[in-house]
C-alpha cells in the first residue's frame, strides 16, 4: 500500500480512510472502513484524497487500534505492536500528524488487566500533538476498580466523545505531557502576586498554567482593573472575569473602565453576593442613579451589601444621593470621622487599596461645602496637631496640592508642569536628582510624563 504523504496537509482536522488489514502480531484479520464522525465534516472533505488503500504494517497497527468490539486493547494497540522499521517510518513522517484529530467511530471496549491501572501511551514523539477522539468508548471497569483513566503521553489529548457529538463537545479525559518544558512550581506560587493583566497573559502560556489560573478562585477574589485593560474591558468580559471567583469575589476595582455600564455592573453584582468593596472612579459609563439603584437591588437580595464604595471625582452627587449612599453603606458619621485613614492626593488619582476601610470616598468639603474628594495633607507641618490636620483638609480646587506627594504649598514652593499639574520642589528634586540646578528648575518649563 502506499500512503500518499506528499498530498497531506497539516490543516486537515479529520480524514477518512479505508483499508484492508492484516494484523502482524495477532491471529485475526479484519477489514474495516472508518469514516469521520460528523457528517458535516464528511461533506466538506473530498473523497479519499490520498488514494489511500492502506496496507502497510503501520496501517495494520493503526487499524488494530481502530478495530471495534472484542479486541483486547493492549495487544492490538498500534503503539505497542509496532515493529522497528515501521516505527522508524512513522518517526520520519511524524510532522505529518501534527494537529491531527484521530476520530474513531466505533465502540471500543477496554478491559484492562487487574495489574494495570492506567492505559499508558507510548512515549515516542510520533503522536505528539495528536488529539484522539473516540466515540462510544466503554470502559469495562469491573475487572479493575482502580482503573482511573487514560494517559496518553504525547502532549495531545485523548477525548471521549459520546454519541457522535462534535469534537468541541467532547470531554477531555486525561492528557499528560511528561517531557521537559513544564512550568516550575515556583510559577504557580507566583500567580498570587500577579495582576489581572499578567494572569491573562500567563493563562496563555501552557495548559497547566491555564488550568491553574482558571481554577484557583483565590486569585480572583480581589479584582483590580486598571491601565490598559480598563479602557478595553466590556461588560461581558468583566462578568466572565468575576465569575472566575465562583461567587467569592470580595473586592472589585474598576479604574477608568469606560465601557462598563450600569447594566453590566448589575450582572456582576447579581452573581457575586459576597462583594463588599466596590471602586468605580472615572467609569464614565456608569451613572450615580445607576449605582444607587444597583446598590439598593444588591442589598435587597439578601446579601450584606457593599460596605465600601469609591466613586471618585467625576460623578456629581447631590446631597440627597449622598445621604442615600451613606444609608445603604451603613455609614455611621461619628465612626467614620474617627477611624478613617487619611486620603492623600497622590499621583493625581486614587490608587486602589483593598485594605482601605473608608466607607465612601467623597464627603463635603470643609471649605466650599460641595461634595468632593477631600484630601488630607501628608506634609509634616500639617500633621503636628489634629487641629492643623483638620485645617488642611479640602478638595483639590480649594487647596492646591503637589501631584506627586499630595502636600500643600503653605510651606514650600512649587512649579507648574507642562500638563498644568503642580509639583513641589522636593518632588522636582527627587525626579531630576541632585545634579539639577535649582536656578534652572525655577525658570524653565519642563515636560513631565507620568505613567
Amino acid at each position: 500500500m502506499a500512503l500518499n504523504w506528499d498530498d497531506f496537509e497539516n490543516s486537515w482536522s479529520s480524514w477518512s480512510c479505508s483499508w484492508d488489514t492484516e494484523i502482524s502480531s495477532g491471529n485475526t484479520e479484519s477489514k474495516g472502513f472508518y469514516e469521520a464522525v460528523n457528517d458535516d465534516i464528511i461533506d466538506r472533505l473530498p473523497e479519499d484524497p490520498f488514494g489511500m488503500e492502506i496496507r502497510s504494517t503501520f496501517a495494520a497497527a493503526i487499524t488494530g487500534w481502530f478495530q471495534d468490539f472484542e479486541n483486547d486493547l493492549w495487544s492490538d494497540f498500534c503503539m505497542f505492536g509496532m515493529e522497528d522499521y515501521a516505527e522508524k517510518q512513522i518517526v520520519d513522517q511524524q510532522q505529518m500528524f501534527k494537529g491531527l484529530n484521530w476520530v474513531c467511530n466505533g465502540t471500543m471496549s477496554l478491559k484492562p488487566d487487574e495489574s494495570i491501572s492506567s492505559f499508558y501511551g507510548d512515549q515516542s514523539s510520533f503522536f505528539k500533538g495528536v488529539n484522539w477522539v473516540c466515540n462510544n468508548f466503554e470502559i469495562n471497569e469491573t475487572s479493575n476498580p482502580d482503573f482511573n483513566g487514560f494517559e496518553i503521553d504525547n502532549g495531545g489529548s485523548f477525548v471521549i466523545n459520546d454519541e457522535g457529538k462534535g469534537l468541541k463537545d467532547s470531554k477531555e479525559v486525561i492528557c499528560n505531557d511528561n517531557g521537559g518544558g513544564e512550568p516550575s512550581d515556583a510559577l504557580f506560587f507566583a500567580l498570587g502576586y500577579l495582576g489581572v493583566k499578567d494572569l491573562l497573559a500567563v493563562e496563555r502560556v501552557c495548559r497547566s498554567l491555564r488550568d491553574a489560573v482558571r481554577s484557583d478562585t483565590l486569585l480572583w477574589r480581589n479584582i483590580h482593573i486598571e491601565h490598559s485593560l480598563s479602557r478595553r474591558i466590556t461588560n461581558d468580559a468583566l462578568l466572565k472575569l468575576t465569575n472566575r471567583a465562583k461567587g467569592s469575589l470580595e473586592c472589585l476595582s474598576l479604574v477608568g473602565c469606560v465601557k462598563i455600564t450600569d447594566h453590566g455592573l448589575k450582572c456582576v453584582l447579581e452573581s457575586n453576593p459576597k462583594l463588599t468593596k466596590l471602586s468605580v472612579p472615572e467609569c464614565t459609563g456608569l451613572s450615580v442613579e445607576g449605582i444607587l439603584f444597583n446598590l439598593k437591588a444588591f442589598k435587597s437580595i439578601g446579601s450584606p451589601g457593599i460596605k465600601h464604595l469609591k466613586i471618585g471625582g467625576c460623578f456629581s452627587v447631590t446631597e440627597e444621593q449622598f445621604k442615600e449612599f451613606k444609608f445603604l453603606l451603613g455609614a455611621d458619621n461619628s465612626i467614620q470621622l474617627r477611624e478613617q485613614k487619611p486620603q492623600f492626593f497622590r499621583q493625581g488619582q486614587l490608587h486602589f487599596t483593598c485594605d482601605d476601610d473608608r466607607v465612601i470616598d467623597i464627603e463635603i468639603c470643609p471649605r466650599c461645602d460641595k461634595l468632593k474628594l477631600v484630601y488630607d495633607c501628608p506634609s509634616e507641618s500639617c500633621r503636628t496637631t489634629h487641629h492643623a490636620a483638620q485645617l488642611c483638609r479640602a478638595c483639590f480646587l480649594c487647596i492646591a496640592r503637589c501631584f506627586r506627594c499630595g502636600c500643600c504649598f503653605k510651606h514650600c514652593d512649587y512649579e507648574e508642569t507642562f500638563t498644568l499639574d503642580l509639583l513641589c520642589f522636593n518632588c522636582l528634586k527627587h525626579i531630576f536628582g541632585s545634579e539639577e540646578n535649582s536656578d534652572v528648575i525655577g525658570t524653565s518649563y519642563e515636560l513631565y510624563f507620568y505613567g
Binding site: E182, F189, L200, A201, R204, V205
Partner: protein, 148 residues
C-alpha cells in the same frame, strides 16, 4: 542577638552547617524535626549545598535587617539567574521557609510582569506550548477584548 543553641544541619552533600537555632527554626521542616531529635537534625536535602547556604543566609539577614532596608536587600538577593532561582525555590519549598518562599514568588512575579508577551514568558521559563491550535484559538477569542 542573644546567643542560643546552635543546630548542626547536614546537607545531602555531607556538609555540616552550624546554624543558630532561632534561625534554623524559621524552616518549618527543621522546627518539626528539632522537636523530635535533640540538637542535631539530618536534612536530607535534595538540592545543592549552595542552595541551603543561600536559604540560610536569607533567613539570617531577614532577622537582622530592619524593614526599610529589607526590600532593597531582598531585591538584590533575588537577582539571580533562573536556575539559581529555581534551586532557591526548591530549597524554600522543601524546608518550608515562608519568607524565602514569598521572596522567590515575588521575584518570579516581577519577571513575569517584565515579559512583554506570552512567547517571552515561555522562553524565559523554558515552557513548551502544549496547546492545540483550537485551544489557543478558543482562548484568543475569549480574551479578544484584550487585543493581546
Amino acid at each position: 542577638m542573644l546567643s542560643s543553641k546552635n543546630s548542626a544541619l547536614e546537607s545531602k552533600d555531607n556538609e555540616i552547617f552550624e546554624v543558630e537555632e532561632s534561625i534554623a527554626i524559621q524552616s518549618e521542616l527543621i522546627k518539626t524535626m528539632a522537636t523530635m531529635v535533640n540538637s542535631k537534625a539530618y536534612v536530607n536535602e535534595r538540592n545543592q549545598m549552595g542552595c541551603w547556604k543561600q536559604a540560610n543566609y536569607h533567613v539570617e539577614q531577614n532577622n537582622k535587617i530592619v524593614d526599610e532596608e529589607l526590600s532593597d536587600w531582598e531585591s538584590k538577593f533575588f537577582e539571580v539567574d533562573m536556575d539559581d532561582l529555581h534551586e532557591l525555590f526548591m530549597a524554600a519549598n522543601y524546608l518550608e521557609i515562608e519568607s524565602l518562599l514569598n521572596g522567590v514568588a515575588k521575584r518570579v512575579a516581577d519577571i513575569i510582569k517584565a515579559c512583554m508577551n506570552v512567547e517571552v514568558i515561555r522562553q524565559t521559563f523554558g515552557i513548551n506550548n502544549d496547546f492545540a491550535a483550537q485551544q489557543e484559538e478558543e482562548i484568543r477569542k475569549l480574551n479578544s477584548w484584550n487585543h493581546i
